[in-house]
Symmetry: C2
Subunit: 752 residues, 2 copies
């Protein structure tokens, strides 16, 4: 098959850069001093053997972080970051992840290494067999498995551009076999650039070996390899399957998956399936953890790998494939055992390959980071720029474990710095980030359907739920959201059910509204456009209105909308009740942006101080917003006789805004436990009356000590079908209410 020519086909080229990716990354849990953790796998994670994102590998301390399959490397690394955030915040707060492929110091007695306490007895048995064949130490090595699949569009385009192979599955197999053989042959280049396991820790090797660093212990003969007698041919799928089957039959391997090739061919449950349905994708297993990256792999590194694989499909291979692969193994071992600060023996070959790759990328218009090839070429010339080189230089005369502990601690700090965010998804709304976090923690599969629109898919087995904005779900009916969207309809329905709502009327013309003057003239009331927002066109008359003022207010409101509401004004404090499925989960008081004086600092200084809270940020991506000192705030201060340079008395509260929105710097105060049950009952039942299951309902209450059943005890202002959740989860003051977990329980009662 002449792949060089195939790739050149104009039908093929547009799809050459398209592929699918997945990562499995192992890391050990260690304490904050870098000692292997003695605790069990965290119970805050849904403890399933087959958690979609976070499992255990060989030992109880060895976490395996698994991404879903993604269509881009950006997505892949987003998911990997998110899974790291979930992992860090699910393990004990005094644990972190070991950043190296080589494990931290192991117990002298290897029996003390605890095999993963899985539920499935067969899984435990398999691990015991491995422990017996290879020793528990060897199994403690960690790494990244990188799953790679050419896009179907590309494969179909290639397939239709040739006539040699008539069957599509067989054609795919040919593609992947060629890439695999070439990868096995040339993988020494990857080992040179990104090998990163130069040294072992205490008690790793039974005999004391030399302490001289290498590029990759893990990828050398000292690493994670099968015994010498395990030989499998990549010449054809038939040979591969037949060799592997024989090895298992003869007992040289316990199971097929014990075959530790740097590339594993994937497709189907059993290896035999490969022959029937062809290779679906390949799994690269030779990736050392990159200690400089929280994710264990960098975007540039992954991109290089991607381009390298496409290049290897194009690149001619040796005539005899078994020899071609074997040569690769030998060369790789040589490179792996080279000193990290020395040039590689294959320096010239490396330069040639990378230059050819660069031309290939240009010719085929593949997208790569601008500096990729320059960086790689520099690494070839300067070994201190390779991962192993950088690590060894950093260790200098010190201990690898100290450096590793420092790296781990940095990652730990990063993961805990913004505990409300989910790395990789920080551009999404905070409530969605938190819901994604909780879902992933509970082993619910997540998928982003429309990122800008906060549209996600959640899945448990066959059960699929779509969610928008964190709380728009299948559990609410279409009509209930439309009821809440329409304030007049909401009020009518609540009123008909016996709840107190501001009484009022809707008018379609100024003339009509003017005729109602007598009805409103002597009592507190509000004039407002039916549907506009931001307070435009609203007039409040707390003690009735003179005819002229009434006229002015009506005219103002009709400038904003063709329908105007005249409504009774209800006195009281506004509380937000967050209701799910007939239960009040949280009650929040929102206080306008303010500072509390200390008798020393100016208002400007007090604002700056308050803004230093890490919970404050911008654009709803943090639980609270930065307090501004703009025109509106200055006007508000002036009204109270202040300037920004004024120094309020100690304990004096100075308000900077009229409105209490969190978005304009307001404070969120959880008062769930302070609100009497009778008001919660009103809120929950009112939500049921409008047929909603997830709702934020706002009640005005003048005095919560008055029974809710008293006439005029409360007034319902509105019901929100898209209530913010994060403000309950990260309030400025008071207890956090993790309402997102209740949403998940409503969607997936079968979980937890």
């Amino acid at each position: 098959m002449d792949f060089k020519q195939l790739l050149d086909d104009r039908r093929v080229m547009p799809f050459l850069g398209k592929a699918r990716f997945g990562v499995e990354k192992e890391s050990h849990r260690v304490d904050l001093s870098g000692n292997l953790a003695k605790t069990d796998h965290p119970s805050s994670l849904s403890v399933q053997d087959h958690h979609p994102y976070i499992q255990r590998d060989f030992s109880e301390t060895q976490m395996e972080l698994i991404t879903p399959v993604t269509e881009s490397l950006e997505e892949l690394l987003n998911f990997l970051s998110a899974i790291h955030d979930v992992t860090y915040r699910s393990i004990s707060e005094d644990e972190m992840l070991w950043p190296l492929s080589m494990p931290p110091a192991l117990p002298q007695n290897e029996e003390e290494i605890v095999i993963a306490k899985l539920n499935n007895p067969a899984s435990v048995e398999y691990r015991q067999a491995l422990a017996k064949s290879y020793g528990r130490r060897k199994q403690m090595i960690s790494g990244i498995h990188f799953n790679f699949e050419f896009s179907e569009e590309l494969l179909k385009a290639l397939f239709s551009a040739q006539t040699e192979i008539a069957d599509y599955d067989q054609f795919k197999t040919a593609v992947y076999l060629k890439v695999t053989r070439n990868y096995l042959h040339y993988r020494w280049l990857y080992t040179y650039l990104f090998g990163a396991s130069p040294l072992s820790e205490q008690n790793f090797f039974e005999e004391n070996t030399t302490n001289e660093p290498v590029r990759s212990l893990r990828n050398s003969k000292f690493g994670y390899t099968n015994r010498e007698d395990v030989k499998v041919s990549f010449n054809s799928i038939h040979d591969y399957v037949s060799d592997l089957t024989t090895l298992v039959k003869n007992g040289q391997l316990v199971e097929e998956k014990e075959f530790y090739s740097p590339v594993r061919l994937r497709g189907g449950q059993r290896v035999a399936d490969l022959q029937n349905h062809g290779i679906q994708y390949i799994e690269l297993r030779n990736i050392d953890l990159n200690p400089f990256e929280l994710n264990g792999i960098s975007y540039e590194q992954a991109k290089f790998l991607h381009v390298f694989l496409v290049y290897l499909l194009w690149k001619e291979e040796g005539a005899c494939s078994d020899e071609w692969v074997q040569e690769g193994d030998l060369n790789n071992n040589t490179v792996a055992l080279e000193h990290p600060l020395e040039k590689t023996a294959f320096h010239k070959e490396a330069r040639t390959i990378v230059e050819e790759m660069e031309q290939f990328v240009q010719k085929f218009k593949l997208e790569v980071p601008e500096s990729l090839f320059e960086n790689v070429k520099n690494m070839i010339e300067e070994p201190t720029l390779t991962l192993a080189g950088r690590l060894v230089e950093q260790i200098g005369t010190g201990e690898q474990c100290q450096v590793a502990t420092t790296f781990a601690k940095d990652n730990y700090d990063t993961a805990w710095k913004h505990p409300y965010q989910l790395a990789g998804f920080t551009d999404m709304e905070l409530s969605t980030q938190i819901l994604l976090f909780d879902a992933m923690q509970q082993g619910i599969k997540v998928d982003i359907i429309d990122r800008q629109e906060q549209f996600i898919k959640l899945q448990v087995n066959e059960h699929v739920e779509y969610v928008k904005n964190g709380n728009m779900t299948s559990k609410d009916t279409y009509i209930s959201s439309l009821i809440m969207e329409n304030k007049t309809v909401t009020k009518k329905i609540l009123h008909a059910h016996g709840y107190r709502v501001p009484q009022g009327e809707e008018f379609q013309s100024e003339e009509q509204a003017m005729r109602a003057y007598q009805q409103f003239s002597t009592k507190p009331f509000v004039v407002k456009p039916k549907s506009t927002n931001y307070g435009l066109g609203i007039s409040i008359f707390k003690e009735g209105a003179a005819y002229e003022d009434y006229e002015k207010a009506i005219s103002l409101a009709f400038k904003e909308d063709s329908s105007v509401l005249l409504e009774e004004f209800i006195h009281g404090t506004e509380y937000r009740f967050f209701v799910v499925d007939g239960k009040v989960l949280a009650v929040l008081l929102r206080v306008p942006a303010n500072v509390e004086g200390d008798g020393k600092q100016t208002i400007e200084e007090l604002v700056a101080q308050k803004n230093r809270d890490p919970l404050r940020g911008r654009d709803h991506r943090t639980p609270l917003e930065i307090i501004q000192l703009g025109e509106l705030e200055k006007l508000m201060l002036k009204g109270q006789g202040f300037e920004i340079s004024s120094v309020p008395k100690s304990g004096e509260i100075v308000y900077l805004r009229e409105n209490s929105n969190i978005s304009t710097g307001g404070d969120s105060i959880d008062v769930t436990d302070q609100i009497p049950d009778d008001y919660k009952k009103i809120a929950a039942e009112a939500v049921t009356a409008i047929g909603a299951r997830i709702c934020g309902i706002d009640l005005l209450i003048e005095n919560t000590e008055v029974p809710a059943t008293d006439e005029n005890a409360y007034g319902i202002i509105e019901a929100n079908f898209n209530p913010s959740m994060y403000m309950h989860i990260y309030p400025y003051k008071g207890e956090s209410r993790r309402v997102t977990q209740h949403i998940l329980r409503l969607l997936f009662p079968e979980v937890g």
Copy 2:
């Protein structure tokens, strides 16, 4: 109680015009020649004894039309019109409603008058008893019962303005008793103005009475009255209840409801309840059918009645109430039996009352039609302007029954003129009008929650459903509507379920989109802004695109939106599948606005001819829209070498528009029976895949004879969560599919 003073209280005045109203109107079914119908009550109406809108009264032919309680007379008459439309289109197409209070010619043998065939045996028995006491003839008289209730706001304001009566229910009773006594005393004025039963038809009276016309046979001693010995005092509620109870106990009345007072006191199931809970409202029973009104009552007439009742609350009454009432009965009988073309004996009193009413209305700022008092005063001066006067003048030397038949036929024509509309609600969207029609016909209670927003409430017993725009309901989930609203999400989900959708990608920047050029350059594709409408920014490339054209299209699309879709262009004809609950109910083909030549007329003439179809109108209030001949249409004609003065050949189809929207004059063609089942299956299952239950889904199909399972047989363009229903119900060509009935069945499986 000094009501004059009470009404003058400034807390009372704003509410003086507020009241609640209801109407029950009896009318006989007659054939198109005016003969009493021989058929049964129509089976197209849900046949319940207690249908909320349309029941039977005494006889099988006597329909009773019942409005709900309304807060305004406008609403009242809207409902009454709508109920008439439903009635007319539910009875046989060769039947209509008799417009007079006096029945049409009756069979000589009164046993041939068929008593209503109700399900409840007690109801039938009661009618048999009435037939025995009064004769079947008398029971055939029809009229309007007008229910009147002062608003609670008004009653409460009055109550708090006085101290005489401490109990609110007792106070209300005092209010209604005063109005009732005054009404009974002064009702001769109403009889003069609006009495309208001057003559009887053949066989009505057993003895031949004089043929001289009167104002109101029905309100005279010859009408619908109890025997002389039935006397009930309105002096106090105690007297009223005790008198009535005694009459029933003594067997002078079969049941309490046999008491045919011109005013009936209402509240509670039994008369005794009045004493416990007070009078809730009053029922005026002296209203003759107004033969000049389809509704049997005009707005002005109802408004006069309303103002009259408020005035009678204010107006002083006689000291001795029994005498006061008795005097009223006598005067009323006198006026009722006067000649309709002669001035009334109470001419002076009438003038005084009306002048006082006019002053009253001015003083208390009640809203009335501008010409109301002028008209009434003219009627007092000129008896030919009263209803009875007008009717007698119209009859002249002819027969009353001929005039009545003509009136009935006019009403019949009106009700059938726009069979798709629902009178009283023609400002609402057509689909909502049709749904309201079907609901009322099936005995489902309807209520308009927000008229502008097409928000309605439907109710059967305790089961309430809210509906917006005719098909947004509780049966769809919130998230499924959000899925359909987002084209990208819809496509992703459909694609994941294996349906063919236009393949494509979404881009957030021109640069990003430009990089995808190669992917699209050689195949048919569309460039479109993600969310804008009306075709703005859309470019179609049916055979790929040159780089420059591609660049231009991308730039154009990004002018409309920040997200742009590039999508495969799928060839074929677009069909709309209307799906409810997993079943395709209708399939529609929409054809762009067009005319078919006849070799004689110009395009302009052909358009005018096509526009004469009564199905064509404007603004979605008719099933089809008027075809325009504006700039766009002229441009389209020019492109085909036509002008509006061109004469197309016979049979030649000339298209006036590129797009097929019904809103721009397109034709709707029902093809439900022509579309093979396999395509219907695809459509129905695709709707299920996105979790929707009510949905209009658009498929492009190139050839419906190709099996739907063929690759590329179809492409799904979009799914609509607010699909138009009326176009399926009143298509331009093909069968009508009453999809609204399926919506009702989905909402109320217990009905029908």
